[in-house]
Amino acid sequence: MEVLNSLIEMTPISLMLATPLIIAGLGGLFSEKSGIVNIALEACMLIGAFVSATLLYFLYEAQVPFAAWISILAAVIVSTIFVSLHAIASIHLKADQTISGTALNVISTGLTVYACEIIFGAKSSKAFNISASLKEVRIPILKDLPLIGVLFDKIYPTTYIAILMVVVAWFILYKTPFGLRLRSCGEFPQASASMGINVVKMRWIGVLLSGAFAGFAGATLMLTTQTFFYFNSVHGLGFVAIATLIFGRWNPWGILGAGIFFGFAQTLGLYSSNVKMLSFIPQQFFSLFPYLITIVVIALFSGKGSAPKAAGEIYDASKR
C-alpha cells in the first residue's frame, strides 16, 4: 500500500518530466522515418527553451494575455527555422548527418548564451514570473476517481497535448498515404523515387517536424520545470529523447511508454533518498539509467530491424 501511495505521489512529477521526452522523441521519429538522423534535437530544445523563457519574460512585462502559449508558439517557429540548416546540409549538400547535427549543437549553445548576454547582460535570462507560466490543471469529477484520478489532478496541459500528439503521429504515420510515403523514404528512398514520391520534399517535412516538435519540447521543459534560461537548461535531455526514440523501437506508442518510463526513472532518483529500499543506490545511478538501458536495449534488439534502414545514409538517386 505504501508503494502504491508513493507511486501515486510520483505520478504528476514523472509525467511532467516525461512530456518533453515524448514530444522531442516524436520529432526524432518523423525525421528518422523520413531517413534523416537528427542528433540536433538537443540544439532545437535549447533554442525552444531560450525563446520561450525570453519571450515569456517580456510578454509578462507587457501584460499580454496567453503569454505562455504565445511563447511556446514562437519557440516552435524559431526552432523550425533553425533546424532547416540541418535539412539544407543533410538533404541538399550531402553532409554527414552526425557532423551536421554536431555543428547545430555547437551553434545552439553559442547562439543562445550569446543572445542572453546581449539581451540580459548576463549568462542567463532573467526569471519570468511563474504566474505567467503554464499552470497545472485539475479536471473536476475525473480527478476524484479512485486510482486513475491521479492522472487528472495537477497535470500540465502539455502532457495531454503530448499524448494527443502520440495518437496523431501514429495515425499519420501508419494510417495515411502520406505516412506510408514518408516511411518509405527512410527504408528505400530509391524505390520511393521510382514510384514518383518526392524524396527531397518528404525529408524536408520530416526534418522540419523534428525541429518543430523539439522546439515545443524545449519550451515545455522551460515552462513546466524552470523559471529562467541558462546554458545547461536542457542538460542532455535532447539525447535522452533520442534514447526514448530508440527504447521505444521507433514507434509512437513505444515512445510514449519509454518517455513515461524514463520520467519515472528520473523521479525515482529524486525520491530515492526517502525510500528505504532504494536509498543505498547513489542518485547518479538513476540519472544514468536511461542511457544505460538504451545501450542494453540496442544490444538486445540489434538486427531486429525496427530502425529505418536508410536513416543516416546520404541519398543518392542513382544508387541501387
Partner: protein, 358 residues
C-alpha cells in the same frame, strides 16, 4: 563528383567561420575590430591598441595550453575516422581518463617522473576501455557507434561524479572535488616566470602526434585500419581482420581522449573533479579532426587554430563581446566542413562559366 583538396575546404571553412563571427559581433552593435585585436593578442601576446607595450609571453603560453587537450582529442576522433568510425564519445573517455588518473595520483605511491607516467597510463586504459565498448558493439553486433558513444558520454558523467565522491578523499572545503594530488604526481609547469599553467604535458602531446602519424601512415596495422575505413567489405575479402581492426581502433581512439583527461587533470587542476557539465574537449576534437583532415600534421595546425579560438574568446570579455562568439565561429566551421559539397558545387559552376568565355 570532383575531389577538392582538403586543405582548401578547411581554409574556406575557417574564413567563413570568422566572417560569421565578425557579422554577429557587428549585428549586435559591438566593434568587430576588437575580435582582430583579441586574436592577435592571444596569438602573439601583442596588444594592437597599445603598440608601445612589449610582447606578453603569457598569452602565447595560454594559447598552447588550450591547444594541448584538443590536439589529443582531435587525434582521438581522427584515429576512428581513418577506420571509418565516428567517435563522438571523446567527452566520456576524457572524463574517465581524468578520474582514473586522479585515482592513481592519490592512491599509488611512486617517485616523480614515474608517478605522472603511471597516472597517464591509467587514463589511457580507462579512456581506451570506454572507447572499446562501442567498438565491440559495432564489430560484433553492427550497432552504430554514434548512439552508443553519446549514451556513454552521459554515463561517464554520472559515473565519475559518483566515483569521485564515493572513493576519492574529498576536500572538505569544496565538498565536490578531491584533495590535492601529492607533489610527485603533478606535471610541472613550464611558464617562463609567467602565471600561465602551461606545462610539460606538451611532451605527451608531441609523442602522441608522432605515434599517431607513424601508426596510421607507416605501419601495416595502420594500412589495414585505413583499408577497413575506406571499404569494409573489400578489406574483409582481402583477409584483413576487420572486426579486430574496429575494436582496436576504438580502443586506441578512446585512449587518446583518456590521455587528454589525464594530462589536463595532472597539469592544470591537480585534484580529482566531479563535472558540472562537459568540458567540451571531446566535441572540440571533432572540429579539430575535421578541419585537420584527420592527418597528423593537419591536426597540429587545426589544434592550434581552435586553441587560438578558445583563448581568444576568453580575452574577448575585455571588449564587452560575449565569449560565446567563439562557439558560434566553431559551429559555423564544422557546418561548412560538413556541407563541403557546396564548395565543390560552386567550383564546378565557376569552372563551367570560365569554359564558356573561352
Amino acid at each position: 563528383m570532383k575531389k577538392v583538396n582538403a586543405l582548401k575546404i578547411s581554409l574556406i571553412a575557417v574564413v567563413f567561420g570568422l566572417l560569421t563571427g565578425f557579422l554577429i559581433i557587428a549585428v549586435t552593435n559591438r566593434n568587430p575590430y576588437n575580435l582582430v585585436v583579441a586574436l592577435v593578442r592571444s596569438m602573439a601576446g601583442f596588444n594592437l591598441l597599445k603598440p608601445d607595450k612589449p610582447i606578453n609571453v603569457l598569452y602565447i603560453l595560454n594559447w598552447f595550453l588550450e591547444t594541448m587537450p584538443i590536439i589529443l582529442t582531435g587525434l582521438s576522433v581522427a584515429f576512428a575516422f581513418r577506420t571509418g568510425l565516428f567517435n563522438i564519445g571523446g567527452e566520456g573517455q576524457y572524463m574517465l581518463g581524468c578520474t582514473a588518473a586522479a585515482y592513481v595520483a592519490l592512491f599509488v605511491k611512486a617517485p616523480f617522473p614515474l608517478h605522472p607516467i603511471l597516472c597517464i597510463l591509467a587514463g589511457l586504459i580507462a579512456g581506451g576501455i570506454w572507447g572499446f565498448i562501442p567498438g565491440i558493439l559495432k564489430a560484433f553486433k553492427n550497432i552504430h557507434e554514434v548512439v552508443v558513444c553519446i549514451m556513454l558520454n552521459y554515463i561517464a558523467w554520472y559515473l565519475t561524479s559518483w566515483f569521485v565522491r564515493a572513493y576519492l578523499p574529498i576536500n572538505p572545503n569544496t565538498g565536490s572535488s578531491s584533495i590535492n594530488f601529492p607533489e610527485s604526481a603533478i606535471i610541472p609547469t613550464l611558464n617562463f616566470g609567467t602565471s600561465s599553467q602551461f606545462n610539460y604535458g606538451i611532451i605527451v602531446v608531441v609523442i602522441a602526434l608522432v605515434i599517431f602519424h607513424v601508426v596510421i601512415e607507416k605501419t601495416t596495422f595502420g594500412y589495414s585500419l585505413r583499408a577497413t575505413g575506406l571499404n569494409f567489405e573489400a578489406a574483409r575479402y582481402a583477409g584483413m581482420k576487420t572486426k579486430f581492426n574496429i575494436c582496436s581502433s576504438m580502443f586506441i581512439s578512446g585512449a587518446f581522449s583518456g590521455i587528454a583527461g589525464a594530462v589536463t587533470i595532472l597539469g592544470v587542476y591537480h585534484y580529482g573533479r566531479t563535472f558540472q557539465g562537459f568540458d567540451g574537449y571531446g566535441f572540440d576534437g571533432i572540429s579539430v579532426a575535421l578541419v585537420g583532415a584527420s592527418n597528423g600534421i593537419g591536426i597540429l595546425f587545426s589544434g592550434l587554430l581552435f586553441g587560438l579560438l578558445k583563448t581568444t574568446s576568453n580575452n574577448l570579455q575585455l571588449f564587452n563581446i560575449p565569449k560565446e562568439v567563439g562557439e558560434l565561429i566553431q559551429g559555423a566551421i564544422i557546418f561548412v566542413v560538413a556541407a563541403q559539397y557546396i564548395i565543390i558545387y560552386l567550383e564546378e559552376k565557376l569552372s563551367k562559366k570560365k569554359g564558356e568565355f573561352k
